[in-house]
Amino acid sequence: MTGKYQMKRTTFLIELSIRKNATFVSGILIKYPDHFHKNFSMINFDKFTLSNGLRVIVHHDPTTPLVAMNILYDVGARDEDPDKTGFAHLFEHLMFGGSINIPSYDEPLQKAGGENNAFTNCDFTNYYLTLPKNNLETAFWLESDRMLDLAFSEKSLEVQRQVVIEEFNQSYLNQPYGDVWLLLKPLAYKVHPYQWNTIGKTTQHIAEATMADVKSFYSRYYNPNNAILSLAGDIQSDEIRVLAEKWFGPIASGPENTRKLPAEPDQKEARTLTVHRDVPTNAIYKAWHSCSRMDKNYIASDLISDILGSGESSVLKKELVKKKRLFSEIDAYITGDIDPGLFIISGKLMPDVSIGEADAAIQDAIDTFCHNGIKATDLQKVKNRAATGFEFSKIPLANRALDLAMYEHLGDINLINKISTFYANISLSVIKQTANEIFQSANCSTLYYLTKSAK
């Protein structure tokens, strides 16, 4: 996640979100058993669309004095020009540089007791805030004005280019293992825009961004018909409709954006890249092409990553960390992107373990998994863990507003209340079949990230 200002522990969005993908999952429609309701809390919501195309979602929770407001714009790093990468995220920073009628976004919100933040990923850009309910109108005023028009100050562009370059340095270049994703994504993707990271390919691209780029990006993407507004709190749909009409209603729609992104062709041959860096231990990163978010196998691929790497009793942690002691840490996860994403296994090696031995051990564990499948209790375990994860991720108010906007963005807001059931219904045979589809050796890109002295 790349964004306005991400600081460990203070981004309230990820607090309590113990499941890595809790807010980033989706699936397909499957039958919905009634008895399920009693163990899962439902998220109520109401949805309407303004005549300018802005979709509005309202979640009612009478127990809180706060309101969370979330605006998702349907533009991410995948929509960037390959020669101007990192732009969607740089633009997100500029959204705080003042709008047409309001010189400062942050000040009035803070004065109203509010707090805000934003993040950009490869698929979309998201802005969120919380404030006391009695100051709700301030949020409408601020968010609608920056959707109406920006101030476009040269000073703001100049400063934020610098800030983002420092963010690039801080998160990717001046950290041990910081550039892993800068290496791994272009290794795995040759055609699709997922080949670059949200932060951009190089700091050069950010340094070269011009005001003309900023203005054309804004007029193309920052329009009511390209946005989803969701709110959560002790609020009623009727009062929100009045406020939304008042503040967002007068904003004109923009052009329709149809995405025509080049599909990544099937990978026919395994790829390997070896780099040496000033780091304390050797590491390995393996990436397999997997499915898109709305694919029928998406949930199975998420569960496979849990079976392999989530929790102390997971296959890789138990076998390769505790039993064989080849790794000090190992993880398996999916990137969870809307277009076909990656299935990743990454690990840091124990001293005296060769990279070849470590790679072979991962391969061995995968082969066993693909050949034998898993026990019913192991599948039940990851389903149970997913169920708990979903329940905990629903607790923060801001998460509910974000989840509603994200499921709407995916194309089916009702998934928010069905998703746990879909996880519960995945069968052993689907798991095995999906694993065999993903873990083809030709489908894999491997990065050996080694110390300076390693051979």
Binding site: E107, G114, F140, Q170, N174, P280, S328, G389, E391, P396
Partner: protein, 423 residues
């Protein structure tokens, strides 16, 4: 079109109070506090032991002891315990901070009955098997080595050593060879003396009903390690400001920490200084962020912070800046301190910060999990339930003159230690 040039009226926050938890006592004397919400399925149980790393005889003991609890018990040897806990979809975490150690378990209400016996076994009969100890020691050593390479962590470790004193309970830091000399016996001792029913309280939050309470009584209610003598310590801080530069050749950025000891949480200046801290570097619109990030673009972020521990507090300013602008950043930080010492804060800015802080209190008390966290943070200091209400009142009453005085008293660059990790 509405008139967009005029901001909607903003309302001040009404009264604010931390909801009083239900309180119970188990037969073994453990106090139990309940923050109840029947609308949710997700349940959390926190065991808080009143001993942390500051009380350990040597580095790593507390965290290794608490981590080893789940690596096998008498009833569930080896991996069995974690297999069961994972199977029921429950998540467990253990951590020793300076003053206390926490074991936290999260699960769905329907699974509590299945999971609580594992927690009971983990707390009352951990095996401390040498083999598991060896494995965990080696893994955590590697994790430590990797963590220690991060510029920010290097700076943070140095500032704690320099502010509290590297031979004091709060200032001492772990060295890599501490892993090699760690002894299982020390862990067992620490467990027996500190992680018992005489040194603990419980917070339950979520859908807590009679059935849940009965299960807690049944499984946790008997005494264990009850004759343990919790480790005591005495933090004596001898502070002398210094300037430290840790060289990282060819670094693109410098990690900076500036710090000094701060008054205790119960001191009269503590709350008003919190307000000054927010204004200076404690929120996105702070003086430091506005100048050094939003005007100069020297950094992705800069902030100041007060960490309060039971026997002393520390004030820090932290940032990572471009190598070429490290000195310029230091100068701007000094300038911002001088401005607060010499110039009166405007009424508008003061109002803004007070409102922001009220909203921030409201956010931090929203929902039972946040309430439980806040409750925990006052428990360790024996502050009353009205602490948040009173501090908010105090903040609202604080005037410009008082903040200027506080800036002169505490925000003196020359009285602080600086650490730079970079080229």
């Amino acid at each position: 079109m509405p008139n967009r040039n005029i901001a909607p009226v903003t309302n001040h926050l009404q009264k604010l109070q931390l909801a009083e938890p239900e309180s119970h006592k188990l037969d073994n004397g453990i106090p139990v506090f309940v923050f109840r919400n029947d609308q949710q399925q997700a349940l959390k149980i926190d065991f808080i032991f009143n001993s942390g790393t500051a009380g350990q005889s040597r580095p790593l003991v507390a965290n290794s002891a608490i981590r080893l609890l789940k690596e096998g018990t008498k009833s569930y040897p080896g991996n069995k315990l974690m297999q069961h806990i994972d199977f029921y979809g429950s998540y467990i975490s253990q951590y020793a901070s300076k003053d206390e150690s926490d074991v936290t378990m999260m699960c769905l209400k329907k699974d509590f009955q299945q999971v609580i016996p594992f927690i009971e076994s983990m707390l009352k009969e951990p095996s401390f098997v040498p083999k598991a100890f060896g494995i965990i020691r080696n893994i955590t050593k590697e994790e430590f080595i990797i963590r220690s390479e991060k510029p920010k962590n290097i700076a943070l470790k140095a500032i704690y050593e320099l502010v509290f004193g590297n031979d004091t309970p709060y200032g001492v830091s772990t060295q890599v060879n501490d892993y090699d000399t760690l002894r299982l016996e020390d862990l067992k001792d620490f467990y027996r003396n500190n992680y018992g029913s005489n040194n603990c309280y419980i917070i339950l939050s979520g859908p807590i009903d009679h059935t849940i309470m009965n299960l807690v009584h049944q499984h946790i209610g008997s005494a264990w390690n009850a004759d343990g003598k919790p480790n005591d310590f005495n933090q004596v801080t001898y502070f002398k400001p210094t300037k430290e530069h840790i060289i990282k050749k060819d670094a693109l950025q410098s990690a900076i920490q500036i710090g000094m000891p701060m008054v205790h949480r119960t001191h009269a200046d503590f709350i008003p200084f919190q307000l000054l801290n927010i204004l200076f570097g404690g929120y996105f619109g702070s003086r430091l962020m506005s100048n050094i990030r939003e005007d100069k673009g020297y950094t992705y972020g800069i902030h100041s912070n007060i960490s309060a521990f039971q026997q002393g507090s520390i004030f820090t300013i932290s940032t990572e800046t471009g190598s070429a602008v490290t000195q310029a950043t230091m100068e701007e930080i000094q300038k911002e301190m001088k401005i607060l010492q010499n110039e009166t804060i405007s009424t508008e800015e003061l109002d803004l910060v007070k409102n922001y802080l009220s909203g921030s209190y409201m956010r931090s008390l929203d929902g039972v999990y946040n309430q439980a966290e806040k409750f925990k943070s006052i428990q360790g200091f024996a502050l009353g339930m009205d602490y948040y209400e009173k501090s908010l009142q105090k903040i609202q009453q604080t005037q410009q003159d008082e903040l200027k005085e506080l800036a002169n008293k505490y925000l003196n660059y020359d009285a602080m230690t600086t650490v730079i990790v970079g080229a």
